[in-house]
Amino acid sequence: MRWYALAIYVFLYLPIVLIVFFSFNSGRYAMDWQGFSFQWYGRAFANRFAMQALATSLEVGLWTAALSTVIGTLTAIGLERTRGWPRRLFDGLIYVAIMVPGVVIGIATLIAFVTLFGALNPLLAHLFGPDGPQLAMGRATVVGAHVLFNLAVVTLIVRARLAGLDRSLIEASEDLYATPLGTFRQVVLPLLTPAILAGFLLSFTFSFEDFIIAFFVAGPNNTLPIYIFSSIRRGITPEINAIGTVVLIVSLTLLITAQFLLRSRDRAVAGKG
């Protein structure tokens, strides 16, 4: 059993070790070991395109996580108060949102928005003149397309947590004449925190890792996965590995922080209802 577990961890970490190892390669191609060097870390940080892509991905990821978490939480609470066909409709929409493959949602969103913007932009130009604001594909559209999937995921996580809540706490609060908002703020919200945090982290990760949706809807902006994908077409450089390593360390830090926060509350993040 112990040996099996060890084997799985080796399986999980072998590629990671290679990525980190070859980021210290002094040669031009990542997988062709020439000697030890830190130079690619310096180059990575000096590489404007890579840093720009990283910044775009962070920005998109944070917005996605924030919006998905807030909207997903509101939706989960709203659905607990809903019965009948509206609830079934929402359930259906949530599953379809998770189910539609990224390729399809990427292309469909692109076409829908280009058409929509094409119709709205002349109107905007009419209202604000030729130099006024115009709608275009960009970071906002990536955030929108990412939120769709993640808000569905967050709703499921938070709802699972809501279903497991001890109802007597809420009743007690109401018996003590707390206002509905007060009950929500002081009783419900703290109990939901682990699920909300988990949803935030998960949304950020999905957004940060996504290639295909962003490829279609990002307009001229490159996210980090798009940048990496186009950079490795002619061979991976240690510079790309260095970027990957830095991202890994940052996310590891985030994860450990989150784990610490979650554990201080309740280990079962999204326990069953």
């Binding site: 059993m1 112990r2 099996y4 961890y9 999980l12 072998l14 590629p15 990671i16 290679l18 990525i19 997988m31 909207i71 997903g72 509101l74 609470i77 709203g78 607990e80 108060r81 809903t82 379809v96 189910m99 539609v100 493959p101 990224g102 390729v103 399809v104 292309i107 469909a108 969103t109 076409i111 929509l116 397309a145 499921l156 996580i157 699972a160 279903a163 109802r167 809420i170 109401e174 509905p180 908002l181 009950t183 929500f184 988990a198 890792e209 290639f211 295909i212 996965p225 990496i228 490795i232 991976i236 991202v247 890994l248 994860l255 450990i256 784990q259 280990r267 079962a268 999204a270 069953k272």
Partner: protein, 294 residues
Amino acid sequence: MTAAAGTRDEGRGGGRATTALLLAPASAFFLLLLLLPLAVVIVYSFGERAPAGGYLPAFSFDNYLNLAARGQAFLNTLTLAPLGTLLCALVAYPLAYFLAVRASPRIRTLLLVLVIVPFWASQLLRIYAWLLILGSKGIPALLSLVGIEDLLLVNTRFAVLVGMVYGYLPLMIFPIYVSLEKLDKRLLEASSDLGARPWRTFLQVTLPMSLEGVATGSLLVFILLMGEFIIPALLGGGKVFFIGNALVDLFLQSRNWPYGAAVSIALIAIMLASIVTYMRFVLGKRGQRPNAFM
């Protein structure tokens, strides 16, 4: 049943307004970013390919009638995605069991975190690392030391399966872990006190009670594998063709958007049908939902 605040003192109208307000943002997102794009896909699926590629408005069922032209891709996906899901579950279960039942509670959290960490490194870089591991300087080079020569691992179905198991293992481990962790240890003790062999205890007590986690994890992994295209493209060397790859090619290479739209609709329909069937017959209960995402 209600968890949110205050249905008791409020009038029905006020409660409804609050509920509507709570659901409004999600409704807007679903409308603008799910239903509108899906409507585009549906409309396109009845259209025609323009002479230079793209979309030409029309009303015809030709794209649907022609779905068989991507039959092989559907077949590849419908064999490899369930197979990948199954392998994922088989690989994940013992580890989840170890973590939930055997591992010392002190290091359990650490071990769990370690399962998800690789998930946070760039997916593309991890796949390229596998190309190196399976490539001629990797495992085949080691095997040639013991006399197995010229073994080709990259760009095979085997490599694609390895990539799929690797890529989705954490998503399988966590739900199984959650279901096993909830398991009442006293049940296991009772079973062994009654003289049951460990193996029988596992088969008759542990496994049935953890099937819910297996089902949840499998559903999640299956959904994501059905739409996968990067793993077959890179680890399959373009030779293992999933429906996701067919879609990418239809939209980006041959620019037959209407046909691509029809294939998308067919894929979604197949997924819906298989998931509904799965929920009814495997999960037993209708409406039981997969919610152990972490």
